[in-house]
Point group: C4
Chain length 261, copies 4
């Protein structure tokens, strides 16, 4: 078996396409943002990525139909007035071993390079370990020019964050992208790190929309954010009553919140 | 060394063969069912599968003869009146790493595809975490048509089970099977998850027998189920006397029951 | 880099050679026996085996000279009156991953097959979990004929031991050897499992000497056994005095005994 | 993706070059020494090494620019009066799996062999588990001749140290180097093992400077050593006050010291 299998579902010609990556990770911010973008753009399926570097797992739909875990590329053809088409990479998992991360990222970059991609935006969460009411969007980039460009859109480049660098797909797509002569930016929404965070995803997407000069309706994402708030509030109240905790910051990730999204 | 070595023991021509997979797993339900089917059909050895993705281990028989751990394919030629021949895949282990699971499944599917297999049934246990007196058979399938077909045979498709999908060979044979254009069904017998469960295996096999339109004598499997009941009862009584436990549900898997089968 | 590198040090023609394997393991019995056999036979170096499946480690001699960890093949030319030459496989480590075990064993077997090997003896310890005063030698073999032959030499074939089969090189050389049409026997010396056991190694070698019809002087091995006894006795006395333990069986492996050998 | 990618930045001809390796490890002694040597020699970048055997990680500079983790080769052209050019290997990580260690070392050695390297010096720390005021430099080498040569420069070859051999890149570059017919020496600076140790790095470099007959200004390295002393002293005082500890030896590695360097 090939280590990574990329099945092309449709042959398309793309105009100066930009790749947007958002896979599961901290607060699921990147995945929430990429999935929402894909839905709002009504992007179409382009390719499915299977790999032995994913868990040996299938998902079962409510109707009882199985589906092998995968990553997926969708494409969006920009209207004639807009400059660039968009590719969105999402999926169920990142590679589950360090070597798998490298192999998957390299294969997807190679495939996207063949489609004309020369620039990558990766979307992620940045865990602050405390509740974040108004999440800022932190950045990292492959060139000084992009850093300056991002600052214009309100992205924060902090001297100390992220201190230990970026681990996982969001960093690797930029780092390995350099070997394909791709430029790139990582947009990190601040988040507590305790549960999925649609509000942080919204902050990231708002920056991205400005950069890409596209319009996004955030109604559904905000509804999801309110739903998470509501559940978090309930948990907080229950804990206060039982005396288990008296602060607004849960001391550990909440399983009951972990899969909203 | 090849990662997976498949040794063909006999060249056979098969008529529209269906593959039945049953490897060790939850409650050993799948393995119990596949082994029992193989014995009842008096299926003949077709191929032995060795792999570095199995543990580096040999078993020693009571006579002192060693045997390298393996998976095995047996075949059954249906009588002229019946429509389809049967392949049964069983063995000592599933692959012990995620990558090994993928490699093994892909290689076996490729081999079976060469034998004409276009449909797969995988047999498994579904852990309920409590004693199950009358195990239902839950299902998952590759197409809506198969879901409907299975419902006719009493298979339950539950909106929420299995919630996190299927992990391991039973899911992967269906998920990767799709890449070979194979259709498939997973039949999961409800089981406690605490010990091997011949009764659950019987429930699964009864569905399979109806689907395959074959006759199976369940006398020996029921005897095994009674033996497990008897031992479980003894343990329960001993625990009640010693005050260690007072419920019918053991709180953890029992080693002394773990290898009946 | 090749996964396994076998460097031939001398080209030799061997007469119906038999391979004797003894690598580190339970009580270091196999390694002690193989190393002692090699020394007593004054076997000559034939090949060195390096591999990325060993730890990334070098040893440093008392003179400060480094040596990469390896396995090693030595050969012994039997006198004209004796029927068979001997190859001894020893070394610093078994492969440190399951896949590495398979790869190493397969490569060494392939190499030895090229030298004419058709029969393998593997030497190992069998942990009893209690002090064993007069270690028996347990056996496992690839054929009923060899089982009968070994029984004549006092080897014990126990219905229940080893219950879970053999894990590691001693089993794998026989199991994979079957794929090379090699016959083989595993000789397991009973041992406590708590420390290195030259006495168990002696028991194993005594059987092997009878099988191979060679003479071995056991003086040095017995001296080593007495040294281990002496240290074990001292520890026992110290523990008795301090009240830490009052039985002759240490409750855990002793580091201070672990590397005598 | 290739397992190891070596990007040559400049084509150079080198005169009998010697390879100096210093990667992260015990007390970061090897890395501190190699980095300092590279800076003092104003060595120029020759090649960058990326690999899936490193963590899937990028670092972010204070300016927000990302950089994929790597190892790096720098070269120094010796003045006409000096006999040999120098290559310095440094970087962010050693390979993170045993197999990765072998693959990386083998590939770098192969590359350096192509550049004419026939001799390797590896720099490392040797953990003593106690504060070391005047670190000695311990040695290990590939030949008796080099042992004698090193003794002339004050290197200590201790019968018992390092007892278990050397694990990691510093040993492997010598051990695998032998397969390329390279000679080599490992210089190990004594260190506590509790924090980064510029003073031990200085001891190692002083020996190396004598061997290579080069001049090194140690002012900056000594300043760094004083800084570490100062912080260690503060911690000690704080612990004494709080009664947590009353000895000069911290009982565990200090995170706040771990990344000075």
């Amino acid at each position: 078996m090939e280590d990574v299998v990329i099945r092309t579902l449709e042959k398309v010609e793309l105009r100066d396409p930009i790749l947007i990556e958002g896979l599961p990770g901290v607060g699921n911010v990147g995945k929430l943002a990429a999935d929402y973008l894909r839905e709002q753009l009504k992007a179409k399926p382009l390719a499915t990525i299977y790999s032995k570097f994913f868990p040996p797992q299938v998902y079962v739909s409510e109707e009882g139909i199985i589906r092998l875990v995968s990553n997926d590329l969708h494409y969006w053809k920009a209207p004639a007035t807009a400059p660039r088409d968009i590719l969105v990479l999402g999926g169920d998992y990142q590679g589950i071993s360090p070597e798998g991360q490298y192999e998957l990222t390299q294969r997807v970059l190679d495939y996207c390079h063949g489609l004309g991609v020369r620039e990558v935006f990766t979307l992620a969460g940045f865990a602050q370990g405390r509740v974040v009411d108004s999440p800022r969007v932190l950045g990292a980039a492959t060139s000084a020019g992009q850093v300056e460009e991002m600052k214009k859109h309100g992205v924060v480049f902090s001297r100390n964050d992220p201190g230990g660098g970026l681990i996982g797909a969001s960093g690797l797509f930029l780092g390995l992208g350099r070997l394909f002569n791709m430029e790139g930016v990582c947009l990190m929404g601040e988040t507590s790190g305790y549960f999925v965070d649609p509000r942080s995803a919204e902050a990231v997407l708002k920056v991205l929309a400005k950069v890409l000069r596209i319009e996004i309706d955030f109604t559904a994402l905000e509804a999801k954010a309110h739903e998470v708030d509501r559940i978090a509030q309930k948990i907080h109240e229950a804990e206060s009553r039982s005396g288990e905790a008296t602060t607004a910051t849960p001391s550990a990730p909440r399983d009951d919140l972990g899969y909203i999204g």
